[in-house]
Symmetry: C2
Subunit: 273 residues, 2 copies
């Protein structure tokens, strides 16, 4: 079994390590335009060698590139006999772009989003444990072949992940709120921080802003391709910020305390990982 | 040497444990209106026993109560012969309230803010290592006795912390940005989260919202007493959020990527703890 990983960043490299460890693939090839990154992926034993393009005899092709580059790869590999799957954080915007390019989704393309990652990037940050205990969202279309979904799901499960199905729209609305908006806020918040303030920042700042060190080339396309849901989530946050501001400005200490207690209770409902 | 800790929450209990471990105090008494919490503080060996009020022979009194309760304690202990110090996250608003109560700051009151804490609360979460490697901000006034500042600074250093001096205004502006605003945003953000979404939240959400589980009785007074600086910091964040929104809405991918890269670089300047 031959896997081709297009993009040897954190996600592609971690999947390659985990799937090889699970004994699924005998050979892993990498497509990586960044030469230095490609050399590091070989040196770390993540890919056996680099190829300029996806060979026709690949059994599986993981598109682990920024979201905005996924549609052209899907279109280009539409007639590839292997199973093609992606790891993009946006689904609807990516699928719409594929439809715009070729009118339908290839039946052997399985849209996936592993809910795992880090502010770290590149093959040096890769680990075969990245997906262990994490969720993989699969958003199959009516055109997607069921056997392709089953095989890709099995590969993800072999990395220790669990697989959940959603529609692309459900996915994009959910992750706009739980992931994209926190990243957006962390990036925006850091715009107001200078080095004098940083010298006094501590644990709260550290955790709140960790995701604000995430890779710009990954996140700008996520915000762009999930624009509608992300801006709707930002609208809702702005309303909640205005609500908190009004309680502080009017010194309504009781209502403010109740709101904070309600938020605390919501956070305490979070039990994963 | 006899220490009285007014408030056996996370900060008061952790200081008691650390200072006792450092051999500074032979006896630690607790003032704790919450009976269950007081019993846990005794059971955990944090305080030797509880007292209904601060005895006149205490050498040191730590006011580890929510910010809004500090001024009345300072006023009440104005003529106490021991050294009184607090651990409040707001300084200016607290000192102003003391001035409003009695016209001047007691010379043996040392305003302090340990930049340490957690979303955990109470004596069960206490640890003698809480302050190790962390910063303690001291904001003495012209009226504050230098020997009292020196002694309190020595006690904090004995817990493993380092001591920095600022004016109360500098303190409040800095921590409005680096601490109070992230807490405010985390609390506000959690208002938009429901249990269906929580089921799909992962590591980014976990860290971004950790401080949104902080104690409401501590945080509502912080926002209220540092209202001016907190709302100014929120104004600045709202402007940055609008800037990011505009770049997403207009799909200015290049400028958006540059902004994210600038935020990432700022975050990478953070080296502590």
């Amino acid at each position: 079994m031959r896997l081709v990983v297009v993009g040897t960043g954190l996600i592609g490299s971690s999947f390659a390590l985990a799937a090889r460890e699970a004994g699924i693939f005998d050979e892993v090839l990498g497509v990586e335009p960044d030469e230095a990154r490609g050399r590091r992926a070989i040196a770390a034993g993540i890919v056996d060698h680099l190829v300029p393009d996806v060979p026709p005899d690949a059994d599986a092709v993981l598109l682990a590139v920024p979201c905005d580059l996924i549609p052209e790869w899907v279109a280009k590999l539409a007639d590839h006999p292997g199973i093609v799957f992606d790891a993009g954080s946006v689904k609807g915007g990516v699928l719409d772009a594929v439809l715009a390019l070729r009118g339908s989704l290839p039946s052997r393309f399985v849209p996936c989003h592993p809910i795992a990652g880090s502010e770290q990037s590149g093959p040096d940050a890769a680990t075969p444990r990245l997906f262990a205990g994490q969720e993989i969202i699969v958003t199959p279309d009516a055109a997607t072949a069921a056997d392709a979904v089953a095989r890709v799901s099995g590969w993800w499960r072999a990395t220790g992940a669990r697989v959940t199905h959603m529609t692309a729209a459900e996915h994009d609305e959910t992750f706009a709120v739980t992931s994209h908006l926190p990243h957006l806020v962390a990036f925006a918040y850091l715009q107001g921080i200078d080095s004098d303030q940083l010298a006094h920042a501590a644990g709260g700042f550290r955790d709140f802003t960790r995701i604000g060190a995430s890779e710009p080339a990954v996140w700008a396309p996520i915000f762009a391709l999930n624009r509608h849901a992300v801006l709707a989530a930002l609208d809702a946050l702005q309303k909640d910020l205005e609500r908190v501001r009004a309680l502080i400005a009017s010194d309504d200490r009781r209502a403010l305390t109740e709101l904070l207690a309600d938020s605390r209770a919501r956070r305490r409902g979070f039990r994963r990982p």
